[in-house]
Amino acid sequence: MHLAPDTVPLDLPPLQSTIALPYRLTPGKATGTFLAELAARRIVGTRCLRCQRVEVPAQDVCSCGHAELEFVAVSTVGTLQSYTRMPDKTLGLIRLDGCDCDLLHRLHGDHEWAVGQRLQACWSDSPQAQALDLLGFEPAGQGAMAGLAPAAFEASREPLDSMATELKLHYQHAAGPYYGRLFDEMRTSGRIMGIRCSHCQSTLLPPRELCDVCYERTGTWADVADTGVLQAFSIIHLKFIGQRRDPPYVYAEVMLDGASTKIIHMLDGVDIEAAPARLKPGMRVKAVWKAERKGSLDDISHFELIDPI
């Protein structure tokens, strides 16, 4: 990678970030039925009326491509086809009696496992309308009913039509030498630095390797002031997850003096009621820094109008 002559690569620790989002997923009729019936200790599959294939868990569409299916209650006993051990669990592919495909599930309890082993379902004592109401499969007891054919199914309860879940994804983002120097200068010197395109001489903030317009390499680093122009703003009343401040507040897009690209931030010190009439694009703003800087855009607490309205 090309580096400008006065840049020294910096090995900043990676940025830790977490994306945490809630969901209400729709399982659809087949999965919704399968999930609901686990509380009744039943495993529900589907038989395709065209090709006769019995699949489990229940499906909305058969793998043959047709959607004419009937629900069936399948045997809770079957044969282990294959398995894999992981540090925290063991997973197996189980061919339940009478089914034409394997069910992927946990192998439950501290047992020896072997391909060909007969297994039976084991159930949660406190079902909560979720997949793990079926805890997994364990070695079949002496009394386990073998060879039960899939049977006609009568729903014992409403299928689930919504499943609450959360995604929590953790990331470690490498900063690279451009963010590396930018944040180092912000933290140690309270200095904002952009980088100039070697061709059009625009100063790009955040600094980057290539100019977005010319596709030429960037060259020299340049100081960017912490004052600038309020290019655009909107007044936020909307509440949403992950918002860092309770509304209302002013969302600001600022072109700092010396930079050719905008930054996004917030503008304080403005009467929210008066703002629609009195705040205008083009007004001059200045950054208000936090007392303690960590090397991020967040080191700027907010912006203020240079000439209050």
Partner: protein, 383 residues
């Protein structure tokens, strides 16, 4: 390179939440409708494009793999295309090139989004750079509102002009059986609605929707085998600019203006206002429709407020825009760009039912996504 025809279209009846189907079920519905429209089976299809919005909208990564069985597409090439709000259109573009380039005779493009599954604004914030700006982002709404405010000063895109867009689109949506927002509003209702990211107010914002759309594409010389009413794609382009490029103006949509120049040249459009019979455009907020009038050349810069006030873009006007109701009527984001193309095809083949623009034979279908930096346009004609 051959010209490409749309020989079948389908869409779901979009809703706030489809609790009765999961994602594969939703996708299958639209695909089956398009196949039925083209009088084809999946076995006739050479290749499939699945277009869906950002995976965080519905929490399933690589969803194209999840929907293969529901589509009946085992053994066929299946790719996923994703491009923010422009996803559906970009999916069509992918299918277009497979046909035009001779790699496939019949391509199914299906686009969807199931926005009711997740927390939309929070998901959108994750699309920003984690190092620089994510913590201040307010989805797409924050910056869209901010630059609308800037365009008020420079181009006269008033709140009232944007409100007229909402009134028009919701009125049109009532004639569209696939749209789910069924209310009539006045300019005053819009102006008085609660500010969300002022100047964007509650009624300036499209609904959150679950929905899917699909098209079957084939070469122009094969079209007649499948339908008496093909719609031809005369020109198509999809352009991007960097979100944070130097001197990005946000006053004119430069990527859209660029796409329009390319497509108009390819399609023989020299006077869009006069030549198009109908326009379908994707307005993520009401203010964008005003901006697109100018970027598409339907009026000069600064002329959008006058254009909407004149009534020319209403049903019955000389350049109806969004007879389907646009995004105001239904907005399953990943599908919205393809819905515009579907609606354009329906218009030029005389199959738009109660929201048909009489005699329409030449349509524009516009799309957009990202941080207002992805913009596309297609010209669709009956011949």
């Amino acid at each position: 390179m051959s010209r490409v025809a749309i020989i079948g279209v389908g869409q779901t009846h979009h809703q706030r939440r489809r609790a009765d189907v999961n994602v594969p079920g939703l996708v299958r519905e639209a695909a089956q409708r398009a196949l039925a429209d083209a009088k084809l089976e999946m076995s006739d299809i050479d290749s499939v494009v699945v277009a869906s919005g950002p995976v965080l909208f519905a929490a399933v990564n690589q969803p194209e793999k999840w929907v293969v069985d529901a589509l009946g597409a085992r053994g066929k090439p299946v790719v996923r295309i994703t491009s923010g709000g422009g996803t559906g259109f970009a999916g069509a573009l992918g299918g277009y090139y497979q046909v035009a380039g001779g790699q496939a005779d019949r391509v199914l493009v299906v686009a969807y989004d199931k926005l009711s599954e997740g927390a939309l604004q929070a998901s959108i914030s994750s699309l920003y750079d984690p190092f620089w700006g994510r913590e201040f982002a307010v989805g797409i709404m924050g910056f869209s509102a901010a630059y609308w405010r800037a365009r008020m000063d420079k181009l006269g895109h008033t709140e009232e002009a944007a409100a007229r867009v909402v009134v028009k689109n919701l009125s049109n949506a009532r004639m569209n059986p696939y749209a789910h927002v069924r209310k009539t509003v006045t300019v005053d209702d819009v102006l008085k609605s609660a500010p969300l990211a002022w100047p964007i107010k509650l009624l300036d914002v499209p609904p959150i929707s679950d929905g899917a759309a699909a098209v079957v594409l084939t070469r122009e010389d094969l079209a007649a085998q499948h339908t008496n009413t093909p719609a031809f794609i005369r020109g198509i382009a999809y352009c991007a600019e960097a979100d944070n490029a130097p001197q990005r103006s946000m006053l004119m949509s430069e990527p859209l203006a660029h796409a329009a120049r390319v497509v108009y040249r390819a399609s023989g459009i020299t006077n869009p206002r006069r030549q198009f019979d109908v326009v379908e455009l994707q307005e993520p907020y009401s203010c964008f429709e005003l901006s697109y009038y100018e970027s598409l050349g339907l009026c000069p810069p600064g002329g959008a407020a006058e254009l909407i006030a004149s009534g020319a873009t209403e049903m019955g006007g000389d350049i109806p825009v969004n007879p389907s109701g646009g995004c105001q009527g239904a907005n399953p984001i990943g599908a919205a760009g393809l819905i515009r193309l579907v609606e354009a095809a329906m218009q030029v083949t005389g199959r738009a039912g109660e929201h048909q623009v009489p005699g329409a034979r030449l349509a524009a279908a516009q799309t957009g996504g990202g941080w207002a930096n992805l913009r596309g346009l297609a010209v669709v004609s009956a011949d």
